[in-house]
């Protein structure tokens, strides 16, 4: 009796339910981040991993292709994490970029940014090819996922990738972000992370804002804004180049 009322409420207020569920996941991730990893792995990265885990459980339970969103109780997750709200909130982050500060990053930041977009993309495309993905759409989407876990799905959505390729693309980006977070403090000496300029180079090449900010925070707090400043452009540049120039280049190679 009680359960059926709860179920009805959750179904009829799908988006509201999704806010509550995602908020809970973020909360749990924050606690895990602080207590278990001592802040070394950022809460947001753990939340995304939990999300992917729940998607796996949902997919197994429903047999569908939309993870948790295929379960009627959690259908609102589909709206909250759908293309519309995702693109809307990503565009909104551009508001935090200050053009004046951006100029300080200078040409070395721009070069690092470009390299940080192209190099992971090439690696991703090659790996995709090696694992048997031979169509331009899948190769581009997986390559874009190696840039960041945002660029992957945005690119995949724009060029019409299948959901399993999108998931693989996101997984690539998330693993990359986690690797950057964990390995930056360890590799700080090798990376020569000492000056604001070096942090900008790092921010441009390493990409993923969450990875860069968490990694730099654990290395030297003063370097965080410089790295993050360049890294915030990463997603925009990737979203701009991924479904356009990079896709065309891959297409050219695949079907001459």
């Amino acid at each position: 009796m009680m359960w059926s009322i709860i179920e009805k409420a959750a179904k009829e207020n799908g988006l509201v339910t999704a806010f509550a569920i995602v908020g809970l996941v973020m909360l749990v991730s924050g606690v895990i981040s602080r207590k278990l990893t001592f802040g070394r792995v950022q809460g947001s990265a753990i939340a995304i991993l939990i999300g992917l885990g729940l998607a796996y459980v949902g997919g197994k339970m429903s047999g569908g292709s939309k993870g948790l969103a295929d379960l009627a109780l959690f259908s609102g997750v589909g709206l909250m994490g759908g293309n519309m709200l995702r693109d809307f909130s990503i565009v909104a982050t551009a508001f935090e970029v200050h053009a004046e500060e951006a100029k300080r990053a200078g040409w070395i930041g721009a070069i690092a940014l470009l390299l940080g977009t192209v190099l992971p993309f090439i690696v991703g495309v090659c790996v995709a090819w090696a694992f048997g993905y031979r169509d331009a759409v899948s190769m581009t989407t997986i390559g874009a996922g190696a840039i960041t876990y945002i660029v992957g799905p945005v690119t995949g959505g724009a060029i019409g990738a299948t959901s399993d390729v999108m998931a693989l693309s996101i997984a690539t980006g998330v693993i990359k972000a986690i690797l950057v977070m964990v390995s930056t403090p360890v590799a700080a000496k090798f990376l020569r992370l000492k000056t604001p300029r070096s942090a900008m180079v790092f921010g441009g090449l390493a990409g993923t804002v969450s990875g860069v900010s968490a990694g730099l925070a654990a290395t030297d707090r003063r370097l965080v804004p410089y790295g993050a400043l360049v890294a915030t452009f990463h997603t925009g540049l990737g979203c701009l180049l991924g479904p356009s120039l990079l896709f065309f280049i891959v297409k050219m190679f695949v079907s001459p």
Partner: protein, 126 residues
């Protein structure tokens, strides 16, 4: 009013998506070409312009900041609806692609930062 900021964001978003679609058409595809990136650029330009004109108050900005701050949760919701069952069938591709790009980029960071003049390092490294 808060809605002004959100409306500004919405207009930039729509113009960006429409421009992206037009680009796509012009290039002979059915896909959206860089619509999100164009929308971001529009928002940055709109912000600079409106700031100079003094037309953007703090409350209006809240209407944009809220959505910017919600993007990680939205990405978490997006992660929840991915086809993970199929992705795991893809095997270690994700791991190899991630490790490969991190190592390659790390080498480039190290290389570029080694070219930085020592005087800068001494000056700013303190």
């Amino acid at each position: 009013m808060t809605i002004y900021g959100t409306a500004l964001l919405a207009v930039c978003h729509l113009i960006g998506i429409i421009t992206g679609d037009l680009f796509g058409r012009a290039l002979g595809m059915e896909t959206n070409v860089g619509g999100v990136g164009i929308a971001m650029l529009l928002l940055i330009i709109a912000r600079i312009y409106l700031h100079k004109a003094g037309l953007l108050c703090a409350t209006s900005e809240c209407g944009v900041h809220y959505w910017g701050s919600i993007y990680i949760p939205v990405v978490v919701a997006m992660a929840m609806q991915q086809n993970m069952v199929a992705a795991l069938r893809g095997g270690p591709a994700a791991l190899i692609a991630a490790v490969g790009s991190v190592v390659l980029c790390g080498l480039f960071v190290s290389f570029i930062n080694r070219m930085e003049p020592d005087t800068d390092v001494q000056k700013e490294g303190k």
